[in-house]
Symmetry: C2
């Protein structure tokens, strides 16, 4: 049986996913007991845009036509709340599994989709919504079941971290560092959500939902981006042996979830002090296993595809095989 | 139904496990759909040693008597190859699940036990053999299925790392730092295996088996401990802006597994540079997700118990529930 994928969007994330399906086909089949994975259909917004698609895929601008292809799983690789939410909802209601990398949509509608998926008995993968392929979501949901997570801290935006790192290391201004982030492809043409903390906020809300089963009231979360940081803040911190990092924190306190996102000056004793450049990292404070640090790339086509493929394998792997890596 | 545990050994690890079963009983039952977990029997070496046992447990010096208690899972919390291997083997052959924290035994006999467990259709958990409750084993085996692990580097011995950190930070001699490690309880009375690299070696072999399905020839692995390091090595490295760390490396090269364990001077660009004191850490170099860093405590009763309990929940959890943390 072929595993048939319906892909929403063919931007960086969608294209990266399709390409990785091809380059890792043999490996995937080994993991899926010989079942090939095929991109059956792709939903695009602009049909006239010139690009190469996998040759066997139906390319359409009509979401309903996507389903004509008899697909098993919908991959949400589009940006923003709508129409992504409506599409994912409809996919789940039609009995399809869903894998999303869409943090903005999932931060807001994750709870609804999770409930719906449970009701419709399908799986919902969202590893790549948060720190891309670095396995934050699965580590929290699977590996730390016995542990109580007392506090979670993270550097959740690579663009911000890159800018702060360059400002410190190269003594450049905020604007120069931002331009460099754009030149290197870390920052979007419009980097507002990165530098004002919104992007990190979405990821933190997804983590909050996962750890505590609820989110704080969005309006009550203190969110400050790195756009308030000037060179003299960086220098002052350096003088004290500190680095300014953009830290998203969530914890359970006085019977409720408390969250904040803001630039904080860290000493070198803090596990996130060493997370530089475009890297992301999180510290999970647990009652038994102690504080665990997990760090890796937080963005990029390849790591995002990795997280989505790990979700895919998790959904379709029939048996919990414990075999070693196939070389 | 009660989940009945047969515990081998009541030293630091065994006692820590039993105590955590009690302190986390409610949490465990939530994860295990109401099934209580009980230490049915405990195997000890010295029955005259004064200590407090869980009141409902049978305490015995006879392995065969352990089984009279009709147990579901055997927890191996003893040290060294034998009799641990024979006990685990017999347990598996008798249809019991096995969870072990015994790295020396598992490095040598892990492959045999894995095959046997598969044949006898029981589960085998060994998270705590390597970096205690920091989820290295499960991250490698579950989360990184799509990813090919190209190289693995680790600081796998907390005693060595503590000594190296103190020698650098406090400019003390090797012997002074070792004494401090003993005073703090990080080093055993006989710390030979820690400082000569043997302890890290066992863990690396377990990781090799997991990632590549095989181990290198033990005699061909270059193993150098930190017992060759003197204060002037540390100073020289510091002068160059480097830190000496005890690094265990494994990679696939020219069609075979290559492993080495030795002190290496790292620059601050290396992800393990910042892993200080008794912390352990690993870098997993993958083809898609990029290099991932995972760090946490590598020893201690509480984190070791955590890894074993995560194994226990993984074995006995009936359904793959995706609910949030229960508060």
């Amino acid at each position: 049986m072929t595993i048939r994928v319906g892909l929403l969007g063919y931007g960086t994330v969608g294209k990266g996913f399709a390409e990785t399906i091809q380059s890792h086909q043999e490996r995937l089949q080994n993991l899926l007991e010989g079942e090939p994975v095929e991109i059956a259909s792709i939903l695009v917004k602009n049909p006239t845009k010139k690009r190469e698609f996998p040759h066997s895929s139906l390319v359409t601008t009509d979401f309903n036509e996507l389903f004509l292809q008899d697909i098993d799983v919908v991959i949400d690789a589009i940006v923003g709340e709508e129409p992504a939410f409506s599409y994912c909802k409809k996919a789940i209601e039609s009995g399809k599994h869903v894998i999303t990398a869409n943090k903005q949509m999932f931060a807001k509608h994750g709870k609804t989709l999770k409930k719906l998926a449970e009701k419709c008995d399908v799986s919902l993968g969202y590893e790549s919504t948060t720190v891309a392929g670095t396995p934050i979501i699965r580590t929290l949901s699977q590996l730390l079941q016995v542990n109580r997570v007392e506090r979670f801290e993270g550097i959740l935006n690579g663009t911000s971290n890159f800018i702060l790192t360059r400002m410190k290391e190269n003594k450049v201004s905020f604007d120069q560092a931002l331009q460099e982030a754009k030149d290197k492809g870390y920052a979007e043409a419009d980097p507002s959500n990165d530098i004002n903390g919104r992007d990190a906020f979405y990821k933190l809300m997804i983590v909050s939902e996962l750890i505590y089963g609820k989110q704080p009231n969005w309006n009550e979360v203190f969110v400050e981006g790195i756009d308030v940081i000037r060179s003299d803040h960086i220098e002052e911190a350096s003088f004290m042996g500190k680095k300014i990092k953009h830290i998203a924190t969530i914890e359970w306190k006085d019977g409720d979830v408390r969250a904040s996102i803001q630039p904080i000056a860290l000493t070198h004793h803090h596990p996130l002090y060493a997370i530089d450049h475009e890297q992301n990292g999180v510290v999970i404070h647990t009652d038994l296993a102690g504080p665990l640090t997990l760090a890796g790339p937080g963005a990029g086509a390849s790591t995002t595809a990795s997280g989505m493929l790990e979700d895919l394998v998790h959904i379709f792997q029939k048996t919990n095989r414990k075999t070693h890596q196939l070389l």
